[in-house]
Symmetry: C2
């Protein structure tokens, strides 16, 4: 059982302001909750439907059994799952970034589905950190968590002012993904390169231009009259990370 006041308090976490203030966020779904429980993230509270409890879904102690009605009240989903965890927001900062690894930098990516999918893809391709501009959607947004499919437990998402960051990284090669540039497949990436991806509508923001060593593109394959304006940001990020890993392992 869960009190009305506590339900209201959890519901506040549907909103960014309160996630920031309380330092907590919501994770839903058996798969994602299980990944949280096996990660370094700290769980504040965990809720389980009674039928989940009957199936032996508890992992460790402190599970609170609740009804479907209660679950639907605290859930962000239209079809709530059997499990919901309240997780402490990890404190990631620039010190989390390992300087001898490739780094994907996201500039003003506001769509939560895109950020979640990028986190999931980064996990697949071994990018253990992502750096986001401060106007990117926050990774504890429920839709980001949902679409990252548990990968937020393994990939650190750091938020910082990109200009200040890039000023400290003058010895690294910085690539920017544009719709026009050198083909991405012809680059010889080094192991600690930085690649910046902008939003689909506005691209990379101008204050970052002076830090770019190379402008690269994912080539379009012209087949008919009209052409699309751009690729989806998550698809573009996926192709870059794929190419980066393939190039690093390919002998050119």
């Amino acid at each position: 059982l869960i009190s009305k006041a506590h339900i209201s308090q959890i519901r506040l976490l549907h909103h960014k302001k309160h996630r920031d203030a309380q330092g907590l966020f919501i994770v839903e779904g058996v798969k994602s909750c299980m990944e949280v429980l096996h990660s370094n993230l700290e769980v504040a509270e965990s809720y389980l439907l009674s039928r989940g409890s009957e199936r032996g879904l508890e992992v460790g102690d402190h599970w609170i059994n609740i009804s479907e009605k209660e679950m639907s009240k605290i859930s962000c989903l239209t079809s709530p799952s059997e499990m919901l965890c309240i997780v402490k927001k990890p404190k990631y900062d620039l010190n989390c970034l390992e300087r001898d690894k490739p780094l994907l930098v996201l500039d003003a990516i506001r769509d939560p589905g895109n950020l979640g999918t990028i986190i999931r893809t980064a996990d697949w391709f071994g990018f253990s950190e992502i750096l986001c501009s401060e106007d990117c959607v926050e990774f504890t947004n429920p839709k980001v968590i949902q679409s990252s499919m548990g990968s937020f437990t393994r990939v650190k998402v750091v938020y910082a002012d990109l200009v200040s960051f890039l000023e400290t990284e003058r010895d690294r090669t910085v690539y920017g993904l544009f719709t026009k540039g050198e083909p991405i497949g012809k680059q010889l990436f080094k192991k600690n390169d930085i690649v910046i991806l902008g939003s689909e509508s506005h691209g990379i923001s101008e204050p970052l231009f002076s830090f770019l060593n190379n402008r690269i593109e994912i080539p379009v394959f012209l087949h008919q009259a009209g052409i699309p304006e751009s690729l989806n940001a998550a698809v573009a990020a996926g192709i870059f990370m794929y190419e980066y890993r393939i190039h690093s392992s390919r002998c050119c």
Copy 2:
């Protein structure tokens, strides 16, 4: 102005059943509507907010000026745009498929955002047709149209029974994307190959297995303890199409 009865009739098009029955679907947004108007698709009705009209947004005749209140009633979006078109559903069938081109086949892709993004990416990489199993989400679903960003006007999405289709294509090489298989980057694709992509949760369905000549994978890059279960379907499709085009143009 638009009658109450007509508003109700348009609102029916938010649902698959009525899109099928009326042979119509809704396209929203200035960009997508403009692409429809410059395509071979047939527009049945077109609506424009008065302020859009003042900006000179009409293209040709037959634009109906409506108020924001009316627009919000017929729109599928929470934040309606200035333009909305009712478009006749094109009749695509297996005869639309060109047999001397590569073909991407989707098996049970149900997420509309994924299908829309795959259509957009196919447009970028010059895949002018996509073949979908009959249980894929229909491409006239408003969320598919929205996320395809106008590319549905250039890419033909054909629905058919995949087993019957593959029985007629025994002379082509059929690849299936799996989480385990030969690395996709080591394949020598030919110009008319078929590649099947299954859903993220269920993969390629078993009745198709006997048609597969090769099982291929997008390699995972292990970096730490846990690993993600799969890639997002649209990201996987994007990486395949990128690799296919790069391989076709690369001299190996």
